[in-house]
Amino acid sequence: MIKIIESIFQNLSVWGLPVLIIIVGIFEFIFGLYDKKTWTRNEIYLDITCFVIPRIVIQPMIIFFSLKLLPLVLPGLKNEFAWVPFGWAFFIIAVADDLTQYWYHRLHHQVPFLWRFHRTHHSAPYMGMSMASRQNVLYTIFFSQIYLTAALVYLGLGYAALFVTGIKSLITLAAHSSIPWDKPFYKYRILHPIAWVLERLISTPATHQAHHADTHGDGVGNYKGNFGNMFFIWDIIFKTGIITRKYPQSFGIKHYKQEEWYAQFAWPFFKSKKPGSELAANGPMVGDEIPE
């Protein structure tokens, strides 16, 4: 049984996850969860670029550099902590990886200079598999938790990392989905206790869609909070989250100017030609701080 689970997670980390994204994405499309008015050609190009390029170029590059660099930075420590029992290794990596990502994410929202590197993920006026990987190239390259987890793998916690990263990917993808899998937990009274634990522990479509809402402070949308990725508990601890069990009516950013896909993917190397855009040359650092 353990071997089967192990092989599932191994396959998930290599080819399973992209295939799963495509399959769920097709279902979302069939169920009409992508609106033709918002999922324009520009958005499709951007979504596809962000799905393909990191997987075939950036991810192998990061792993290669980590493997070359870590023996230099941490000489003689390879597998030094392989004695850590699986359960504890799992716990250590889950906290280290996800708390680091919480901070990486939160700082990109709270430090004005960093916002434009994360804006591409929020400009999507829809939720779903197509936008789950949508990020600016620099945001992807500097994903801090990847390097931390790579270091923990080097130190000998690799086996647990396989499971943590697999489970984390499934939770974060499900939270980005336009399929509200958590709805039954709020609907049926008998499931309420499970819902109470679930929505505080992990990211759900309700809490994560609130983060992607184009509104804030209306009792549903909370784009200035709900930063958690795998765990929502960080938002509870730091009081940055809200739980409403409701789903926003619209997503994205109010001041979105449908910037060119290449500018959204590779800003600041490519700038937008849209006047007043955050991604244009001399554009504002944070658009919603500028009066309309």
Binding site: S13, W83, F91, I92, L99, V111, P112, T165, G166
Partner: protein, 55 residues
């Protein structure tokens, strides 16, 4: 454009709490070893694998 002072203070406070949260699993692990008397570092095993990217 600057970070509001309140936000800056809250970020600083929360980072201090986070340092404790990072250490918590390691502290609990050694506490469990202390209670049970286990010393797994005496029988070192080696395992390794690949990592994947998340969002």
């Amino acid at each position: 454009m600057r970070i509001p002072k309140e936000t800056k203070q809250k970020i600083f406070r929360d980072i201090v709490v986070s340092l404790f949260l990072y250490a918590l699993p390691v502290i609990l692990m050694f506490l469990s070893f202390y209670i049970t008397g286990k010393k797994p570092w005496l029988n070192q095993g080696k395992k390794n694998t690949v990592i994947i990217m998340n969002h």
